[in-house]
């Protein structure tokens, strides 16, 4: 009984959250509506890739392909059929999300089958290859717009898709979380740890691997279907290899296998470039200009600061506060370097005249963040840990008494 009550409560909470977000963002912050939609889609993508990569340990780096299959199949059918059927747009989008998920799941099955024969880097390159093949094929089919892309406007105006996107994200998180918490998830984890040993223990390794691919790609496909309807325009360029890499980065940066990590790094990695894109001077509203010498000085000092940070991390074995102090010192050294180098570099004739818009720097900063985070925390932000409320409970519990010697 309690089990079903908890299920029901969570379901209500999720639906309430999705519609609440829809109305808050839709009415209060319409300017970021699109970004919140995309953030939700990225959460779905990164959590679903985490199922394949992090939880089952199958090194797939072509996730954008499933995203694309979902988007194109749903977009194409929606364009052709929406006007001939009785459903309202909101329900139709749910149907289309399911349809996109099915198409992507089929693709996932096809891509998952080689995973039975290949492992590691070979599997990675095959998934990447499948992604590229699908993208190039799409580019060459005139009926779905070819390289020019396809307009998907079955409803006339762009639909309110935010609630559905976030509901999908919550569903994806819930499926993965429940998989990890229940016995159904154990085969997946054991395949990740050791295929041979888990086969010896009676785990059906091929079935587990293919299931992971099918479920992961189905979620990506559903996300793609919603993207096609929310954006009203899709083109093969939307699903380039870079997108697969970014999704993979979200998974690894958050901590391979950690759902919380995937969610948080998906939001962060999506938000950083967007924030930089719109960065402007608070007073004049002009785009911020960064002078050339300051930029080069920052790059050099970041390298120095990270090197010092890394040195402290590896070489220093003192007490925690002392280590923390040295970390701060490394960061401070970076700032000092920046201040010292800027006037020196300003002497360089070609550089001093140059300046860069902050929005042009966004991918550079994105890449630098990626490298630095990987260098100082290779296991990912959350490592294998998950978010839980236990630390809140700990705050209220009395500290256990020291055992008297």
């Amino acid at each position: 009984m309690k089990f079903w009550l908890v299920r029901l409560a969570s379901l209500l909470l999720a639906v309430g959250f999705a519609f609440g977000l829809e109305s808050v963002v839709g009415h209060q912050f319409p300017s970021i509506y699109r970004l919140v939609v995309l953030a939700g889609l990225y959460i779905t993508l990164s959590v679903s890739l985490n199922l394949i990569n992090g939880i089952t340990g199958q090194f797939s780096i072509g996730h954008a392909a499933f995203y694309m299959v979902g988007a194109y199949s749903a977009g194409f059918v929606s364009k052709a059929l929406f006007s001939h059927q009785p459903l309202v747009p909101q329900l139709w989008m749910i149907v289309m999300a399911l349809f996109g998920a099915c198409c992507a799941a089929l693709t996932g099955l096809v891509v998952g089958l080689p995973s039975l024969r290949l492992r590691g880097d070979y599997l990675a390159i095959v998934t990447l290859g499948f992604g590229e093949i699908l993208r190039i094929v799409t580019q060459n089919i005139g009926a779905i717009g070819g390289a020019y892309g396809m307009n998907v406007k079955p409803f006339g105006s762009p639909p309110q898709a935010l609630w559905l996107v976030w509901l999908l994200a919550i569903l994806c998180v819930a499926v993965c979380r429940n998989l990890l918490k229940t016995a159904h998830g154990l085969p997946f984890l054991s395949v990740r740890e050791d295929e041979v040993a888990s086969a010896a223990m009676g785990v059906k390794v091929p079935k587990t691997k293919v299931t992971a691919f099918v479920v992961g790609s189905a979620f990506a496909g559903a996300a793609g279907a919603l993207l096609a309807h929310a954006e009203t325009f899709i083109s093969p360029d939307t699903f380039k290899m870079d997108v697969s890499f970014i999704i993979l980065t979200m998974v690894v940066l958050g901590g391979t296998g950690s759902i919380t990590g995937s969610v948080i790094s998906a939001i962060a990695l999506f938000a950083i470039p967007e924030w930089l894109r719109n960065l402007q001077d608070p007073v004049t509203k002009d785009p911020i200009q960064i002078p050339g010498p300051a930029l080069v000085a920052s790059i050099i000092s970041v390298v120095i600061a990270v090197a010092l940070f890394k040195a402290v991390q590896n070489r220093f074995h003192g007490s925690k506060p002392a280590k923390f102090g040295l970390y701060l010192a490394a960061i401070a050294a970076g700032f000092v370097c920046k201040l010292a180098f800027t006037p020196i570099l300003a002497q360089a004739p070609g550089l001093a005249a140059k300046s860069f818009e902050a929005s042009a720097l966004r991918m550079v900063i994105f890449a630098a963040t990626l490298i630095i985070l990987m260098l100082i925390r290779p296991q990912g932000i959350f490592a294998h840990h998950e978010f839980s409320w236990s630390w809140v409970a700990k705050l209220f519990r009395r500290a256990p008494k020291e055992a008297t010697a």
Binding site: R117, I136, D242, F245, T249, V252, A307, M374
Partner: protein, 390 residues
């Protein structure tokens, strides 16, 4: 034209040679991927970017040598082969240093970390170089190395495999002669100050005769099947072969090479046997990147590709596929894979005659071949698929 099922077989040998030339560039890049993978088990995604920086190094060297766009505009600057060698060496050295720098800053700290973390770092480095390059490198309009750098740009080797019919050759020669006579008559009339309608008449005649001649000549060349290889591309092929021979010598015959093979075979045991693993990894990165630099210089100079900070992406991916195709970590495999890749790519364009629209799938075919090969030989063509030990 002798078309069979829509295919022009007379250009097939030329296409194969072109494929071989393109493939030799892919092979040079693939060697870098495969060597790094061999010692570190790391897919060096930044390798394509090293290639891109190498092409820019060649561009800047050509500017320093006096072939900047301003210097060559409207003038015909003489050049010698020394310029080409200097550009090649500078490109190789710059790339070698960049490779070592990337290894030192980004990969060395990740040595004992999970491999996926190093992979993400590699992707990060690749993105960083692309976009930072976009800030600092000249890119619009896309700069290209001046063709005047290449002193042999007009010379080529022609090999006739099957000459055209004698009749048409004779006709063409006749028409060419007639065109010359008509041209001369027109010139004479103009100089002599003949009446305007007469000059006009002669001009038309000359025009018709020269059209006739060029039409016949086109027919002759379409009926002749043979190979035309510009000196530049021949030099490219020879340079590639020399570099590969040097690499083979270094890997097989020197102490460093033996150490390299030992590290590739078993990282930990090599370290225990007293191999300075760190030094070997640095050398591997240096050699691999220098080879990419050589490939980049030839790609930019001989094939005269317009440069951009994203230049390295496509050749990088293709070369990576080539390395996997040959069996990643396997040096002869990379060469074989690269050449296969180049030939397949040109053949697909050629097969466009049979299946219209096929050339649009040029970039996809590389992956199709790869997947097909990997499904039957999971370790690549020359690689051995290891059985996992428990």
């Amino acid at each position: 034209m002798n078309l069979v099922a829509g295919l022009d077989f007379s250009i097939l040998p030329q296409q194969l040679v072109n494929g071989l030339l393109l493939g030799s560039i892919y092979a040079l890049i693939a060697l870098g991927y495969t060597m790094v993978y061999g010692v570190l088990r790391l897919i060096n995604f930044a390798h394509g970017e090293v290639f891109m920086l190498g092409s820019y190094a060649a561009l800047f060297t050509s500017w320093l040598l006096g072939f900047s766009p301003e210097a060559v505009r409207g003038v015909d600057r003489p050049s010698t082969w020394v310029n080409l060698v200097v550009m090649l060496l500078v490109s190789m050295i710059v790339c070698g240093l960049i490779g070592v720098l990337i290894e030192f800053l980004a990969y060395r700290p990740m040595r004992n970390q999970p491999r996926i973390a190093s992979l993400i770092t590699a992707i990060g480095v690749s993105l960083f170089i692309q976009y930072a390059g976009g800030l600092f490198l000249p890119q619009s309009p896309p700069p290209a190395i001046s063709e005047q750098v290449n002193p042999y740009r007009n010379e080529k080797v022609s090999i006739v495999l099957k000459p055209a019919g004698q009749e048409i050759v004779a006709q063409a020669a006749d028409a060419t002669k007639k065109a010359a006579i008509a041209e001369k008559a027109y010139d004479d009339a103009q100089k002599a100050g003949a009446p305007a309608d007469k000059v006009e008449q002669l001009r038309n005649d000359a025009q018709i005769a020269s059209n006739d001649a060029s039409r016949l000549q086109t027919q002759v060349s379409s009926q002749t099947s043979g190979l035309v290889i510009p000196y530049g591309q021949l030099g490219m092929l020879i340079t590639t072969m020399v570099l590969m021979a040097v690499l083979w010598f270094v890997v097989q015959k020197t102490k460093t090479g033996r150490a390299m093979r030992a590290v590739a075979h078993d990282f930990d045991s090599a370290a225990l046997m007293g191999v300075n693993v760190g030094r070997i990894i640095t050398i591997t990165f240096m050699i691999g990147s220098a080879l990419a630099g050589a490939g980049a210089m030839m790609y930019a100079t001989v094939l005269r590709t317009p440069l951009s900070p994203f230049l390295g992406v496509q050749p990088g991916v293709k070369a990576f596929v080539a390395a996997v195709l040959g069996g990643i970590g396997n040096i002869p495999g990379a060469v074989l894979g690269g050449i296969l890749m180049g030939i397949v790519e040109t053949l697909v364009v050629w097969l466009d005659g049979l299946v219209p629209g096929l050339s649009g799938y040029k970039d996809a075919v590389a992956f199709v071949v790869l997947i097909a090969v990997l499904l039957f030989r999971p370790g690549g063509l020359l690689g051995s698929s290891k059985v996992e030990k428990v």
